[in-house]
């Protein structure tokens, strides 16, 4: 079995799976149950001056029958006294010395940071995570994302904490910023030992149209919240990758967060450069037990790929994330429909006609191409017309010369494996940047007539 243990800037964890700083890591009793279930570490619910919370606090977007595709919250940092949290951290570390406990912190003045860091380290925390990400409530008080959005401030506060801290300092970044790389560089400039991202995305999740109040409702009012869960994973993946491939920000290890629900999501974050991953929404939905498949699935995957340890996976996909201008314009694929898998819904036909390049047809006759087509003549129907096992003559056909290989038909087809995108061999490799370099294309920007 592959070795899942990691070393995150000196913090050793039995596996890369950590609870994110959020309700699942709110108390010692919870964190210990999580460790029993198999979690490698936990980032404690953010400590600071205890606050007061509102009721209600959460709202969600469902997608079809899938509940909580995206979750929105207006909860603040811990509402429990600091002394109680510290006692529990001490207790957890005593009983679970091999598991990681990281204290998430948010406070204001330099001296506050000094005191808070000392207390957490004395309680036995393995490291510190600076919460510069909370996009609601705390930012109005000059903390959370209001720090994460201000690179100079971010660097400064990080460097304060580095003066005081004996344990590694992770900076948790907010995605609510124009350029995540700038924020990452600012954190590294402040001397941080690692970066965690993403915190939640500023959002309004929906409106009660009868009451005319956004969700989640606090009586007759509401406020913007922080968005997380499976829906935010693509945004988080990009931000992790953007830091991983940046020479400056990529110097420190990354703890990837945002929509991780199973081992596959985790493997993707790791392949894009994360050393550990953190999970909040999936645990809020299904409980600590999900970690069993995360551990089992990731080790099966590593074994199947012949990787001896999870560190072999780290960053494996970063190299293939390139600038658009370096992509091969000569690479061409076309859609192929498996007539015997097709059920004849023809969603691909309408998607292609209205939303793509008008090159999927039905019926035995050759068809007129639209005026905007790239090739002269008619779209040639295949002879004989394919007759499908389930769909008979309702199986569509692809006008391959016109197909641009956009994937849309495959994305809408409800039958898995029915539409495959196949490579058309013989294309000559050439990139946009090659063309610009050779003067065959103009740089983007402005209208270049003639």
């Amino acid at each position: 079995m592959a070795d899942l243990s990691i070393d995150f800037c000196g913090i050793k964890s039995p596996n890369p799976f950590w609870l994110a700083s959020a309700p699942p890591a709110n108390s010692g009793e919870q964190v210990m149950r999580a460790f029993d279930a198999g979690w490698g570490g936990a980032v404690w619910k953010t400590l600071g001056d205890p606050i007061m919370n509102v009721s209600s606090r959460f709202a969600a977007v469902d997608l079809g029958t899938y509940k909580m595709m995206g979750l929105n919250n207006i909860e603040l940092i811990t509402d429990r006294p600091l002394s109680v949290n510290l006692k529990e951290i001490y207790e957890v570390k005593k009983r679970y010395p091999k598991n990681v406990v990281i204290a998430s912190l948010m406070t204001e003045t330099r001296d506050d940071w000094r005191v808070l860091i000392k207390k957490c380290e004395d309680a036995g925390a393995d490291g510190l995570e600076l919460n510069f990400g909370c996009p609601h409530g705390m930012c109005e008080r000059g903390m959370g994302s209001s720090v994460g959005q201000e690179p100079k401030l971010l660097t400064e506060i990080t460097s304060w904490t580095k003066e005081f801290a004996k344990t590694p300092v992770l900076v948790k970044l907010t995605p609510n910023t124009g350029d995540i790389v700038e924020a990452g560089q600012a954190a590294v400039a402040g001397g941080c030992d690692g970066i965690s991202l993403i915190n939640t995305i500023k959002s309004i999740i929906g409106i009660d149209l009868d009451a005319m109040v956004p969700y989640p409702k606090v009586g007759k009012q509401s406020t913007n919240g922080g968005y997380c869960g499976p829906a935010v994973k693509p945004i988080a993946l990009h931000m992790v990758a953007a830091l991983a491939r940046d020479a400056q920000a990529g110097k420190v290890p990354i703890s990837g967060i945002g929509g991780v629900s199973n081992w596959r999501d985790a493997a993707e974050f790791i392949a894009l450069g994360s050393t550990s991953v953190q999970v909040c929404t999936a645990v809020m939905h299904y409980g600590y037990r999900i970690v069993e498949d995360m551990i089992d699935g990731l080790s099966e995957f590593l074994d199947a790929k012949g990787m001896k340890s999870v560190s072999e996976l780290r960053g494996k996909a970063v190299g293939a994330y390139e600038e658009w201008g370096d992509l091969d314009l000569g690479h061409k694929i076309v859609a192929k429909i498996d007539k015997d898998k097709c059920i004849g819904c023809q969603l691909c036909v309408t998607a292609c006609h209205d939303g793509a390049h008008q090159c999927i047809f039905t019926g035995a006759e050759d068809r007129d191409r639209p005026p905007q087509a790239h090739h002269p003549g008619k779209a040639k129907a295949p002879t004989p017309l394919p007759l499908g096992k389930h769909a008979g003559d309702r199986v569509p056909w692809v006008d391959e010369p016109e197909c641009v290989g956009c994937n849309l038909c495959q994305l809408v087809c409800p039958v898995s494996g029915c539409i495959s995108m196949e490579e058309v061999p013989g294309g000559k490799r050439e990139t946009w940047n090659d063309r610009v370099r050779e003067g065959r294309d103009k740089l983007p920007g402005g209208i270049h007539e003639g």
Binding site: T65, Y66, N262, W263, R264, Y286, G287, R289, I290, E292, D293, D296, G297, E300, F301, D303, V415, S416, G417
Partner: protein
């Protein structure tokens, strides 16, 4: 034992029947798996006699960890592949899925279980449970049916030397030669047994305990013995004309259909006597194999039948006729001894009403009115007792019999339930023995 499948003839009548619940494709499995709610303290788990962690294995299918899903299944049930295909899920796990209460289609647990386990059984797959070093302990089982397989498989995986003694030439018991082929073919059962065999289970085929080898010999040689002999021969009606060609025990007919009869065999007019699941199975098998006519003759009314309603319903759709309140009184034969009809009388509370006899023309009568008990086996093991119905007395949780060295499980203790019950018994006995110090 390797390549058990080659023990079978290629040309078997059973291969003519189509798979009623074909293997899911990856997309289908994933879509169905996504539908599972991942319940906590899930009722489906409680309704599975082997308590497979159903939500966990289903979520592993959803995440793409199919091998992990198979491991979750086999940890609890070493015949998880057969069970996936033969379990009456409608009255077990899926019957208790929370979707039912909600008035929606329950999760297709059996089909998902098949998807995960069938992948793990493919040739070339790494072993899911690498065998542990031999611990020097030896156990034996009487019979190589599901109960014994589970007992020996679980112990072999823990390092025991486990040997099964089976009177027939092929292992698997009724799971190999009793299950309706549209659920599971004999070859599928044997493929799974090969897989279990890789844990290090040993077989002695063609050895009948009590005839070829005594029980005492096993007790002398082994630390513990597990009795998993199942049930005996089909019961008879006890009516005139019954003995002779054209009248056959249902289980015996199924065994021949699965192992011996050629694919070309044609069926005429068939009468099945009985109202249980075996009766429905034979009737459905004959109907699907193209018999000219298939009638189930039952002495009471439909409501009294012990067979599952969903199975009977399926049979009716496939063309099985039901003759209720009809009590067989004689088998009618022509001068040459060839069967021509089954003579029945009207039944009142299951008893024949004199003077109401009439003949139902037929070419074959299959008797599915129960199986006898193999009572003789108990005499081979001092201390092992039978109850008044001829079942071996054993603790239902641990399989312990009156003899501390002897365990029993499966049909021979419960009088005839499902494969999954037999597997649970074998596994529980293995766990009980494991918990004892070696």
């Amino acid at each position: 034992m390797n390549d058990l499948v080659s023990l079978l003839k290629k040309d078997r009548l059973e291969t003519q029947l189509p798979d009623k619940k074909p293997l899911y494709g990856e997309g289908e499995a994933k879509a169905e798996a996504e539908r599972c709610l991942y319940c906590v303290d899930a009722p489906c788990v409680k309704a599975c006699p082997t308590e497979i962690d159903i939500p966990t294995f289903i979520k592993k299918i959803a995440s793409g960890n199919v091998r992990g899903a198979a491991r979750t299944i086999f940890e609890q049930n070493l015949l998880g592949y057969s069970c996936a295909r033969v379990c009456p899920v409608e009255v077990l796990c899926a019957g208790d899925c929370v979707y039912n209460a909600w008035g929606r289609e329950p999760i297709q647990i059996g089909r998902l279980q098949r998807f995960a386990t069938e992948a793990a059984l493919q040739p070339g797959q790494k072993m899911l449970f690498p065998p542990k070093p031999k611990n020097g302990r030896k156990v034996a089982a009487v019979g190589a049916g599901p109960a014994s397989l589970a007992f020996c498989g679980h112990l072999a995986a823990e390092g025991f030397a486990a040997t099964m003694y089976e009177r027939y030439a092929v292992p698997g018991g009724l799971n190999t030669w009793g299950i309706a082929p549209y659920k599971l073919l004999a070859s599928d059962s044997l493929a799974e047994i090969e897989w279990v065999g890789k844990m290090g289970v040993d077989y002695r085929m063609g050895v009948e305990i009590g005839k070829d080898v005594t029980g005492q010999k096993l007790l002398d040689e082994y630390e513990a013995v597990f009795i998993g002999v199942g049930l005996g021969e089909d019961s008879k009606l006890g009516v005139p004309g019954e003995d002779g060609p054209g009248v056959v025990g249902a289980v015996e007919w199924i065994r021949q259909m699965k192992l011996e009869k050629p694919a070309s065999e044609k069926l005429g007019r068939v009468i099945v006597v009985g109202g249980g699941n075996t009766a429905i199975d034979v009737a459905r098998e004959c109907a699907l194999l193209g018999a000219e006519d298939v009638a189930m003759v039952y002495r009471r009314s439909k409501a009294d039948m012990s067979g599952y309603a969903h199975e009977l319903e399926a049979g009716r759709k496939e063309g099985v006729r039901l003759v209720e309140n009809a009590v067989p009184v004689a088998v009618v034969r022509d001068a040459a001894g060839k069967i021509t009809a089954l003579r029945v009388a009207k039944g009142a509370s299951g008893k024949a009403v004199p003077g109401t006899e009439h003949d139902l023309p037929c070419d074959l009568v299959a008797l599915a009115i129960g199986q006898s008990k193999l009572c003789e086996i108990a005499k081979q093991f001092p201390g092992v007792e039978l109850d008044d119905k001829g079942r071996i007395v054993a603790d239902p949780k641990t399989g312990q019999t009156g003899n501390p060295k002897v365990y029993a499980g499966g049909d021979c203790i419960n009088g005839g339930k499902e494969v999954v019950n037999a597997v649970a018994d074998g596994r529980n006995a293995a766990r009980h023995l494991l918990a004892k110090k070696g």
